[in-house]
């Protein structure tokens, strides 16, 4: 693209907020009752963060990987691509993150687990719990319909935020954070251009998670470690 510096964010926005939320609404209707499965997946991940045992965490990482793969295909490729020509690239990034999460579940290593600071755990829980509650409230405040609710495991934003929470709790290395954080920036910019009130939320959550991770222990806790951090 020549004269790239003359382009603004709005030049890349190719749909209206009306089209965006109607797409989510029709997608929600089409994939129902997958929301129930996603709810179970969410409970598994939440449970793993609350009780950090190796097998639970491995299962949680695999559940997250499956969810990222599902969102890549069912949402990005099959739906979002209808109105956004960049969606196939987003789908590819989500598929890569799914693979990374599989690797996170089984990667070799012998790092000893460090005790999980309370703040990290709370941040992880808060960031994970947020999309299940607060994002829906924000949507309602904007006058959106419940049919347009963005649900973990179904659409990207709450899935990504939940993943950030899990990564924070697991103190995962930077490579696992790259795609989720980039998505928060891309999606936040999109929502900002769509003039959605809670557009600031995703980038702020991503920043919060990154800061919490940086301020926390620099020792990565490996999912394959054998010790129980609470023992």
């Amino acid at each position: 693209m020549s004269e790239w510096w003359t382009y603004s964010l709005s030049d890349f926005l190719m749909f209206s907020s009306r089209s965006y939320y109607r797409l989510i609404e029709s997608y929600n209707a089409a994939v129902w009752p997958a929301h129930l499965v996603a709810l179970v997946a969410g409970v598994i991940v939440l449970g793993a963060i609350a009780r950090p045992r190796q097998n639970l965490q491995r299962s949680a990482a695999l559940v997250l990987a499956a969810v990222w793969g599902w969102v890549a295909w069912a949402y990005q490729l099959e739906r979002y691509a209808e109105i956004n020509t960049a969606a196939p690239y987003f789908a590819a990034a989500f598929a890569v993150q799914a693979l990374l999460l599989c690797w996170l579940a089984y990667r070799p290593g012998n790092a000893a687990p460090a005790p999980q600071p309370l703040t990290l755990g709370l941040s992880g829980l808060a960031i994970f719990a947020y999309p299940l509650l607060a994002l829906a409230l924000a949507l309602a405040r904007d006058g959106g319909e419940w049919r347009q609710a963005e649900v973990f495991g179904i659409v990207p934003d709450p899935t990504v935020v939940a993943t950030l929470g899990a990564l924070l709790a697991w103190r995962a290395p930077a490579i696992f954070w790259l795609i989720p954080v980039l998505w928060c920036l891309v999606s936040g910019a999109t929502l900002m251009e769509l003039k959605i009130n809670h557009a600031w939320l995703l980038p702020v959550l991503a920043l919060t998670a990154v800061l919490a991770r940086v301020m926390g222990s620099k020792t990565p806790r490996d999912l394959n470690s054998t010790a129980n951090p609470r023992s």
Partner: protein, 309 residues
Amino acid sequence: MPPTSPSRRHLLASMIAASGGLALSPLLAAAPPAPLLTRPIPSTGEQLPVVGLGSWITFNLGRDPQGRREATDVMRQFFAGGGRLVDSSPMYGSAQDVIGEAVQALKPARLFSADKVWVSGGARGVAQVEASRKLWRVPRFDLLQVHNLLSWEEHLPILLAMKREGRLRYVGITTSEGRRHAEIEKIMASQPIDFVQISYNALDREVEQRILPLARERKIGVIVNRPFRQGDLTQALAGKPLPGWAADIGCTTWAQALLKFIVSHPAVTCAIPATSSVAHVRENLLAGTGRMPDEALRKRIAQDVERLA
């Protein structure tokens, strides 16, 4: 200077003289009370209504059935009001298919289909044009434009050959928001194109300096995109009272005044506001009727918009 003519006939005669060809289509003249003004395409003299319909963002609706029904309603109203030129691009997501669905349903007799080629490489351009044509459900395009000058050196010869073979009626190039104007001028001066599409409105008037005069000199039609700065201009003026001159040219809204400012420029063939609202398409079409501002009033409109927006 306020508009001077109380008579529509006299007004139109004055505008023909002033604008170098603005004319009232005989067919539309028989449809009172608000005939949509037309302008001749410089290269052929074919008359084209001064208000067209864009599709950027507004018609990118995916599979949404309700949105598609509304888009068909917008196009129904557009054609019923005398509109002809509908503009789209492969870059606009599902807009081409949405237009095609409406074309299939409405079968408009006087559609002027304007699309674009937007891909690197000439051979890929041919395939893209054919894919676009199928989405539009038309036998051929009236106008194909090289979108944002992408690979124009490869696309233009192919489009001109298609025109010679009768597979296309007009060829053009596009840019938006003031980009690559030097290259646009170079192509306008050297290539046998029929249309140039540019951004122009009461605030963004750079094209008045060189491109619009060059278009008149080279007999190139001008299509104006982003007449409202993608809604930002109408939003900035919302709630601000219309100045007294608005009533003199029959404007009841800022959108109409902004459009009249554009289509009253003698080099402009057609403006293409995009909308997903039937009410807005009616309002836009009204801007192509009745009295137009003269040069003095155009300056005043620009000054007022600059002051208020």
